[in-house]
């Protein structure tokens, strides 16, 4: 049962007081399968601090009103809180204006909004769309379906099968004069790998293509500045940032958003509806038809404030520490294969691996028995898995509340997998 001791120093210098932060997350006191709960599935969704849960409850117990149309106090306050979150999110990613922040239901809806609202109108047969082979389905399938519908060509920046990084040697051919849209993830949800997004965006701008950055993983772990990034669109999800489920964000350049067609039609996105003709509002309202997820958006505001208080720099460093530690400790395990570039500074806090001939599902099942939550399988990234030629991975993904002690428990449990499958 004794493993060899890790060679890295027992606690690296990190500025987070993790033990204190952990108290903000009520679920961390639970047990799973009778063991203290270890949550290493942050790539799927993050845990929620009490302040986020409280805000959801506050909406339902103190306001409970629909927004933007009430002449009464609770509706006014709900509207104000909803609108305030837009500003909070705009500042979090350093948007020029809060009018560049559209609330959707998920990162997935955000990419589809771009496909329906911008691409359907601006891409024609023969045009090209360029994405990468390591995209999450949310930034893959919409473009594949759109290319098929419009008769456009879908190109892909290929993956190096050796370390699951992108091979951008052929970028100038892949992104060319016919390219109308470039979609690229800022951080792989399988390996944590962060591609050279600046290089890819620069090439896209050079040919005048519109750019979509998938920040679903990245935004929760990094300091984001959309003005510096200089992408046209950035998509992300609240639930991966300690926020509630059912809220996504589309950041878009204001001018581009205003030029786009509306996506969902209905109430609140119109200025004037006549039987003959409807006049739409400007962005972001134009894209927010119907009653939104009011409680969710309000709680999302608290999540962003929470992350800001902790500090994105500190979170990033903490994850880097955990990543280095898990890679170090995993090296002691025979037959463990992990995925992603060896240069850990190009990666976020994700550790994807397989153990011997244990199928990921089996490994996940055994970890679960030890109270450890990981994700297993294809991680909505079939093309990446195909390129790696594997039936999936076990993914341990870290966040601000994870500890080295939890990594130790993970390693111990992986040894159990080894014993069973030996």
């Amino acid at each position: 049962m004794q493993q060899s001791q890790p060679t890295v120093e027992p606690t690296a210098r990190v500025s987070l007081n993790v033990e204190e932060l952990r108290r903000d997350f009520p679920i961390l006191t639970r047990t799973m399968r009778g063991k203290p709960f270890i949550y290493l599935d942050n790539g799927a969704t993050a845990l929620k601090p009490q302040s986020v849960i409280d805000e959801e409850v506050r909406y339902y117990t103190e306001l409970s009103a629909n927004i933007h149309r009430g002449v009464y106090e609770f509706s006014e306050e709900a509207s104000e809180c909803y609108d305030r979150t837009r500003g909070i999110v705009a500042r979090f990613v350093n948007a020029q204006s809060e009018r560049e922040i559209v609330f959707t239901k998920s990162a997935t809806e955000s990419s589809n909004l771009i496909a329906y609202g911008w691409a359907m109108k601006n891409i024609k047969a023969g045009d090209e769309i360029c994405i990468s082979e390591i995209e999450h389905h949310a930034n893959f399938v919409p473009w594949q379906a759109l290319a098929e519908r419009l008769g456009a060509t879908l190109r892909m920046i290929p993956m190096n099968p050796t370390d699951a990084s992108l091979d951008i040697s052929d970028l100038d051919r892949l992104i060319n004069d016919r390219t109308r849209l470039v979609g690229i993830t800022a951080m792989s949800n399988v390996t944590g790998y962060m591609p050279p997004v600046e290089r890819i965006l620069a090439r896209a701008r050079a040919v005048g293509a519109v750019t979509v950055v998938d920040g679903a993983q990245w935004v929760s772990h990094a300091t984001v500045d959309v003005q510096k990034l200089d992408a046209d669109f950035l998509i992300f999800s609240a639930h991966k940032m300690c926020g509630p489920t059912g809220v996504g964000v589309l950041y878009g350049r204001e001018s581009l958003l205003n030029e786009m067609d509306p996506f969902l039609f209905g109430g609140d996105m119109v200025l004037r509806v006549r039987k003959e003709k409807t006049v739409f509002r400007k962005a972001p309202e134009k894209f927010e038809a119907g009653t939104p997820n009011i409680a969710g958006v309000m709680a999302f505001g608290k999540a962003v404030e929470y992350l800001q208080n902790v500090g994105m720099e500190a979170i990033h460093e903490h994850e880097q520490d955990l990543l280095r530690y898990v890679v170090e400790r995993a090296s002691e395990i025979d037959g463990l294969v992990s995925y992603g570039p060896a240069d850990l500074s190009t990666r976020g806090g994700i550790f994807s691996f397989n153990v011997g001939d244990a199928h990921p599902h089996d490994t996940g099942n055994i970890l679960d028995e030890d109270g450890i939550a990981v994700r297993t399988g294809l991680h909505c990234a079939h093309p990446l898995m195909q390129a790696l030629g594997i039936p999936g991975t076990v993914r341990a993904s870290f966040y601000l509340y994870n500890t080295r002690a939890e990594v130790d428990r993970l390693i111990e449990s992986i040894h159990r997998v080894r014993r069973i499958f030996s």
Partner: protein, 146 residues
């Protein structure tokens, strides 16, 4: 109840690793693919018939130990059976996993009982059924006049 006793018995791991029935069949009479999108299991089943009798079954694809072991056990169990006998065995197997019934397999099928422990792990039941449901659907379709 423990993982090692219920799921990862020697017999299951052997069947998981066995390559005996793991192959594609070029001259199959029936072939069909089954997938569990939620866990990534994705297997193809091939059946060679002689009239009403199953000559051979093979499988190919990717799946966890439970999925592959159950596929291998299936291939072994189907060999030489008539379609009617095969459907009875499939029915028994499904009951064992879904209805908490003690199975009544004949001696040559006793290995199937190794899968019994899966029912303590509800999410794994669909792994243990994937190949079996795929074959059942194939056997049912020609019978229904297709």
């Amino acid at each position: 109840m423990s993982l090692e006793e219920d799921l990862y018995k020697e017999i299951i791991l052997e069947n998981y690793r066995s390559k005996k029935n793991r192959s594609r069949m070029d001259d199959a009479d029936l072939a069909s693919e089954g997938a569990n999108p939620s866990c990534g299991d994705d297997v193809e089943l091939f059946v060679k018939l002689d009239g009403d009798r199953v000559v051979a079954v093979t499988y190919d694809g990717i799946g966890c130990s439970i999925c592959c072991a159950s596929a291998n056990l299936l291939c072994e169990a189907m060999k030489g059976k008539t379609l009617t006998e095969a459907m009875t065995i499939i029915g028994e197997y499904r009951k064992m996993l879904l209805e908490d019934e003690t199975p009544h397999f004949s001696e040559d099928l006793a290995d199937l009982e190794a899968m019994q422990g899966v029912k303590h792990y509800p999410v794994r039941i669909k792994c243990a059924l994937l190949a079996w449901n795929t074959v059942r659907d194939m056997f049912e379709t020609p019978a229904s006049g297709g």
